[in-house]
């Protein structure tokens, strides 16, 4: 019994330490790329893509309630946005889905889902962030 309790406590502590604290993420950037190589672009190549800062307050407000989304099989991707943030002193690459209110953290290989009441606003926010950041520039090309 004692060993079970100790194991439980240890695993709980381990899980807690592994949990990503998205509320501490900063320097959110969105990149001008929407193709199917989204997941394949190495993190050290991202700077070659046009990028713009996102509204930091809004991003923090959205992602701070994100919970790990347990899925037995990979989720279906129907398009999204490429973003990075600074977390724990390192740059982190994150893909933001255009539907469903979830995002994918490449470092942990986990999906994170926003609470249902934030999903609509999140999807709108991402779209507006993208168009605001890149529309003027691309329309000149």
């Amino acid at each position: 019994m004692k060993s079970i309790i100790i194991s439980f406590l240890l695993s709980s502590a381990l899980m807690a330490s592994c949990q990503v604290h998205w509320d501490q993420a900063s320097n959110w950037m969105i990149y001008s790329y929407q193709g199917h190589r989204l997941f394949r672009i190495p993190i050290d190549s991202l700077m070659s893509y046009d990028h713009q800062p996102m509204n930091q307050d809004s991003m923090t407000a959205f992602v701070n309630s994100a919970k790990v989304f347990e899925s037995k099989t990979p989720l279906i991707w129907m398009g999204g946005y490429l973003a990075t943030c600074r977390l724990g002193g390192a740059i982190r690459k994150v893909e933001l889905s255009v539907y469903g209110g979830y995002f994918y953290d490449e470092k942990t290989g986990e999906y994170y889902k926003l609470s249902a009441e934030k999903t609509d606003a999140w999807i709108s926010f991402l779209q507006d962030s993208y168009t605001t950041a890149f529309k003027t520039k691309e329309s000149k090309n």
Binding site: D23, Q34, G35, H36, R37, L38, F39, R40, I41, P42, I43, D57, S58, T60, A61, F62, N64, S65, F69, S71, K72, T73, P74, L75, I76, W77, M78, G79, R92, K93, E95, S97, V98, Y99, G100, Y102, Y104, E106, K107, T108, G109, E110, Y111, K113, E117, K118, T119, D120, A121, I123, S124, F125, Q127, D128, Y130, T131, T132, F134, K135, E138
Partner: protein
């Protein structure tokens, strides 16, 4: 509905609480020290209970008899008339007041305002507006749930319209079962400020009085906190030009407990702006135009008129997961940043519609796609369906058809069901591609249905549909092999 609507008297503890708050009874009977019934004799205890019971019974009867005599429909009609006259006579003075909105009269409730009976109804904003307040932590909340309209006749018999917007503090936000704490803005219909009320955790309601009229507090006992609502907003008319705005919400030293402490205004509303220890308070309004909540409004610019001067075009836009091939899905990579879970998303691509009406110099364009409301996977295939504005979605191939007004509107009618509760997205049987194929079929356009397969499932898919458009000579279709980037097919055209 010619008969008057009578409200059946039904007494609940909640009614009692609101009624007492509205009629100032709680504050009128505020005691210096709390009663401790356990220390009283049983006889006195019973006596007090009887007195309280009689008092409550009489006041509750009074309330219901007054409300029961009111014709709710007539009150609503009167309120609507007043609002119409105000709207045509003046202009909104703040960003919140300027937002297009709908009053949910169907959810209106009769409320007692002093000796008068008024009506309170939630206000729903046409664009999904989300607010953020630093004094509520980092939570986001919908303005819809914070704003109510209150209509009543004042003591002089004048019609009064108030808009009560309430911002919860973090305590109330975390536990809304507790009595409300935060700041309520009371304004007229055009947004002119009338009053600000601070609801504190100790049950006090403080009125905001400009600093010049306030007794100067001791510097040591008060740390002044100034509240300000700041934010940015996106105008639907100018989606590319967000602008910033702010409104003062008063400083803590200017909120004084003047003893009246009534909650007469807006007891059904939510309030906001908790004082607790915040620095400068800010509220951010976030725009909401990607998720299409009101599809009728989204399509309202399209006109269904006869004649040949209006041209209607529907384009089937396909984002193939592996452009130029029938591959129905691809794995999204190996997690180049270090993922080792093998749980990377499956890229299935997407199919959506680009709808355009042109006449004279006018062009109306709308993008619309069908999605699941939540995440789906091959083992969890079903979710409530929802419509999204896909103007930033890329596609690599499309097929366009010119249709007449009737055909065009048949497609719109079909698409409109995408948000209907109970109308489900299914990865195998009703996915985004199926939805588009079925939509254009309403106009007599029969696209090939090549079924693709994937682990644990099969169905219509963008990979196959893209190649079907490329390879088949479909009658009346113009193929575009260049596709569109995320910003090259924006929605165009606004209307009232």
């Amino acid at each position: 509905m010619g008969a008057k609507q009578m409200i059946a008297p039904r007494f609940t503890l909640s009614d009692l609480y609101h009624f007492l708050m509205q009629t100032n009874i709680l504050t009128s009977f505020r005691l210096k020290k709390p009663l401790n019934l356990s220390k009283m004799t049983p006889r006195l205890n019973h006596f007090l209970l009887i007195i309280v019971f009689l008092l409550l019974s009489s006041t509750s009867c009074k309330k219901h008899s007054a409300i029961a005599l009111i014709d709710k429909t007539e009150l609503i009609r009167e309120a609507q008339k007043v609002i119409d006259s105000i709207s045509t006579a003046g202009h909104p003075v703040n960003e919140r007041a300027a937002q297009p909105k709908t009053i949910r009269w169907d959810l209106a409730q009769l409320v007692q305002i002093g000796h008068s009976v008024g009506i309170s109804a939630p206000i729903i904003f046409d664009n999904a507006i989300l607010m953020k307040a630093s004094f509520t932590g980092n939570y986001l909340f919908h303005l819809n749930y914070l704003t109510r309209l209150l209509f009543y006749k004042d003591t002089a018999g004048n019609n009064t319209i108030l808009v009560i917007t309430a911002f919860p503090d973090s305590s109330y936000f975390n536990d809304p079962t507790r009595p409300f704490t935060g700041i309520k803005f009371v304004e007229d219909w055009l947004g002119h400020p009338i009053q600000k009320l601070l609801y504190t955790p100790d049950g006090h309601i403080k009125r905001y009085i400009p600093t010049t009229a306030t007794k100067q507090p001791d510097a040591i006992e008060v740390i002044e906190t100034c509240y300000e609502i700041t934010g940015y907003n996106y105008s639907p008319d100018l989606p590319d030009e967000p602008y910033y705005w702010s409104e003062p919400a008063g400083c803590s030293t200017a909120y004084i407990d003047d003893g009246s402490g009534d909650g007469a205004i807006g007891t059904n509303g939510s309030s906001g702006g908790g004082a607790a220890g915040a620095g400068t308070a800010s509220v951010t309004v976030l725009p909401g135009n990607s998720v299409i909540k009101n599809i009728a409004q989204y399509f309202q610019c399209f006109t269904n008129v006869g004649g040949s001067d209006h041209t209607y075009t529907v384009s089937v836009c396909v984002d193939q997961p592996d452009p130029g091939t029938r591959t129905p899905w691809t794995t999204s990579g190996d997690g180049s940043s270090g993922s080792s879970s093998g749980n990377n998303p499956i890229d299935a691509g997407h199919t959506f519609l680009l709808l355009t009406e042109t006449y004279g110099n006018t062009t109306i364009t709308r993008n619309v796609g069908f999605y699941p409301l939540g995440g789906v996977s091959p083992l969890s295939t079903t979710s409530q369906g929802c419509l999204n504005d896909d103007e930033t979605h890329i596609y690599n191939i499309s097929g366009s058809f010119t249709v007449n007004g009737a055909q065009f509107f048949n497609i719109l009618n079909f698409v409109s069901q995408g948000n209907t509760p109970g109308y489900l997205y299914n990865l195998n049987t009703n996915n985004c591609t199926t939805f588009v194929i079925n939509a254009v079929a309403q106009a007599g356009i029969n696209l090939p249905r090549t079924v693709g397969t994937w682990p644990d499932g099969a169905g219509d898919d963008p990979g196959d549909l893209g190649e079907d458009l490329r390879e088949n000579n479909i009658s009346g279709m113009v193929v575009n092999l260049n596709g569109g980037s995320g910003i090259s097919h924006p929605n165009v055209g606004q209307c009232n």
